[in-house]
């Protein structure tokens, strides 16, 4: 019967809104990562491709967490890692694994920031350039981003799982 066939197809097709929500979420988080990278490469009114790592390294070092070699290494690669995460999130490529990487990175940031705040270090966050003091608001913002990253990751896994179930 024609009516029952249409009804069965409609109930089997996944709803569109989870995918739309995932798209909005991953694009928003991707833009946040790109902005974060931009502020580390462009500041004091100019691009700093040749010396950004000195400034970012100084910000990382103020957390008193890493040895000097770690500070230098992280200072050099982190802005470009953020660029890669931003581009991959926006494009949606390997979303589950990119979501995991973004969540772990944000978790590491929040861990370092919480420790510094607990120790009473009066330092710059270093999250979006060097003009923002570390405090409750920066912690709240990064925690919100972590929630978004986790939601994207879980959403990407669920959609993948549902897709597999339907194809079977």
């Amino acid at each position: 019967m024609a009516t029952s066939t249409i009804s069965a197809e409609t109930s089997a097709r996944p709803a569109a809104w989870p995918r739309a929500l995932l798209l909005v979420g991953r694009v928003a988080l991707g833009i946040v990562f790109l902005v974060a990278a931009y502020t580390k490469l462009h500041f004091n009114g100019a691009w700093h491709f040749s010396d950004y790592y000195f400034f970012f390294g100084m910000a990382i070092n103020s957390y008193n967490l890493l040895p000097l070699w770690g500070v230098e290494w992280l200072g050099r690669i982190l802005p470009w890692f953020e660029v890669a995460l931003g581009v991959l999130l926006i494009s949606g490529v390997a979303l589950r694994w990119v979501g995991i990487a973004a969540s772990l990175l944000l978790l590491a940031f929040i861990g370092g920031m919480t420790r510094a705040y607990y120790l009473g270090l009066e330092i710059m966050c270093g999250c979006f350039g060097n003009s923002e003091k570390l405090g409750p608001l920066t912690l709240l913002r990064d925690s919100s981003l972590l929630v978004l990253a986790l939601a994207i990751t879980i959403g990407a896994f669920l959609i993948k799982k549902r897709g597999k179930t339907l194809s079977n």
Binding site: N44, A46, D51, F54, F55, G57, M58, A59, N61, S62, L68, V71, E122, I123, M124, G126, N130, S131, K133
Partner: protein, 206 residues
């Protein structure tokens, strides 16, 4: 190279490169600089003598910068007063430092203020603590200068502070580095000497 802190005779606009470029002059501030004005790098430190982070930055970084870069003519070090309201004796300390600078003793005064910060910052007995680092005649000279030029000293401190406000300084210490005609703000709160050294060496290679 002999390092000269302060002016030899009273408040005056910063000379040479400062006055010519206008980059480092706070428009009539008492001169509190060290090294050669022709050095390829200028390091400006906005500081508060009662701020523990400033003391830490001075003890662990600035002293090494003075030895390795200022005395060798590579860095011109400029102090800017930025006394914070949360520190009740910061202004008093800045006045004494300016009086010392105007009489050519800023370096010794800055060292004394930071080295003994713990001793005077609790109760504000700055004169009692700091006088021990100078001869009675020297300290009387600072006090006499301060008494006679109080308005000029306060004006000088306020000019430094306003310069900091214009440059969006919102914590101490805040460091600006100028080289090759560009001024860069370093992350606030002080910088580790090893990283600053790497940055200075990079600028010297440019």
């Amino acid at each position: 190279m002999t390092a000269v802190w302060g002016a030899s005779a009273g408040p005056k606009p910063q000379a040479g490169r400062d006055a010519a470029s206008g980059l480092f002059s706070a428009g009539g501030s008492i001169h509190k600089a060290m090294g050669s004005p022709n050095a390829p790098i200028v390091m400006e430190v906005f500081g508060d003598f009662q701020c523990p982070a400033c003391r830490n930055f001075f003890e662990t970084t600035v002293k090494q910068v003075i030895d390795d870069y200022v005395h060798t003519g590579k860095v011109y070090l400029v102090h800017r007063d930025f006394p914070l309201e949360m520190h009740p004796y910061a202004m008093q300390a800045a006045r004494l430092a300016n009086a010392a600078a105007a009489t050519g003793e800023f370096e010794a005064m800055e060292r004394a203020l930071y080295d003994h910060q713990d001793e005077w910052s609790a109760r504000g007995n700055i004169d009692g603590v700091i006088s021990a680092s100078f001869t009675p005649a020297q300290f009387k000279k600072f006090q006499a200068y301060q008494a006679q030029h109080l308005v000029e000293i306060n004006t000088s401190i306020e000019r430094d502070r306003m310069l900091g406000v214009q440059r969006n300084v919102n914590q101490t210490p805040t460091v600006f580095v100028t080289s090759h005609g560009k001024t860069e703000a370093l992350p606030g709160g002080g910088v580790d000497y090893k990283l600053l050294k790497q940055y200075f060496d990079y600028l010297m290679r440019q």
